[in-house]
């Protein structure tokens, strides 16, 4: 299992990060809440938006205490606006 997470970013989050996909090192599982903090430390410009971001892990919305594991695909989900 690779010691990193494939992080996807969409819409406004992608604009802030400057890429739709980045690899983030992750050695051990951690709760989604902690993982989001890790992402915000890496991309501080996301900080003002932290309260509106949700995480999806492997294609499904994650609860904040769900674990993110090395090898997962994690997506930053800004407020959705379909329809």
């Amino acid at each position: 299992m690779s010691a990193e997470v494939r992080l996807l970013a969409f819409a406004g989050a992608r604009d802030v990060i400057g890429a739709g996909e980045v690899a983030l090192p992750l050695d051990a599982p951690e709760p989604a809440r902690a993982f989001l903090e890790r992402v915000v430390r890496r991309f501080p410009a996301l900080a003002p938006h932290r309260g509106s971001l949700r995480l999806a892990v492997n294609g499904a919305y994650a609860a904040w205490d769900d674990e993110v594991r090395p090898g997962d695909e994690v997506a930053l989900i800004p407020p959705v606006a379909g329809g």
Binding site: G12, G51, S52, A56, G59, I77, P78, A81, G82, G83
Partner: protein, 170 residues
Amino acid sequence: MSDGLGLFDLRTEPLSVDEVTAAVQHGGAGGTVVFLGSVRDESDGRAVSLLEYEAYPSMARSEMAAIGAELAREIPGVRLAAVHRVGKLEVGELAIVCAASAPHRGEAFRACRALIDRIKERVTIWKREHGPDGPYWVGWQDARCLGHDERDGHAHAHTHTPEEGPTHER
């Protein structure tokens, strides 16, 4: 993606109302309700000339199908389908077509309403409005003030109306 409940998909090309409607029709369907969401020419008083829709495609499809499955459990006898457009859309173009059929009209109306409401709430699709002030991801800047961590004292007054996406449903 069809799993017996109907059709749930994303398209880059213009949507076909007939295709989505046909996906829910069958001999037992006495009533069918169709919702069309189209690009409106203004949003919160700003002129809109173009909308750009972006999706997390695999999750958008699975989330739409999950909503369809939920509603099929909640409302017996319904069949549901929804197709959402992605890419650049001009004013008047269809962004989404939702259809619900049921033995009777009451369930069909209720199911179609719930289908579009839950799609707007949960499905991983975003839109960027283009107007005189430049492009703007709907919900992104506004959501800054919902954050727990920023107290920068910016003094703006507006209300959030997550129920109603700003550019549809005239």
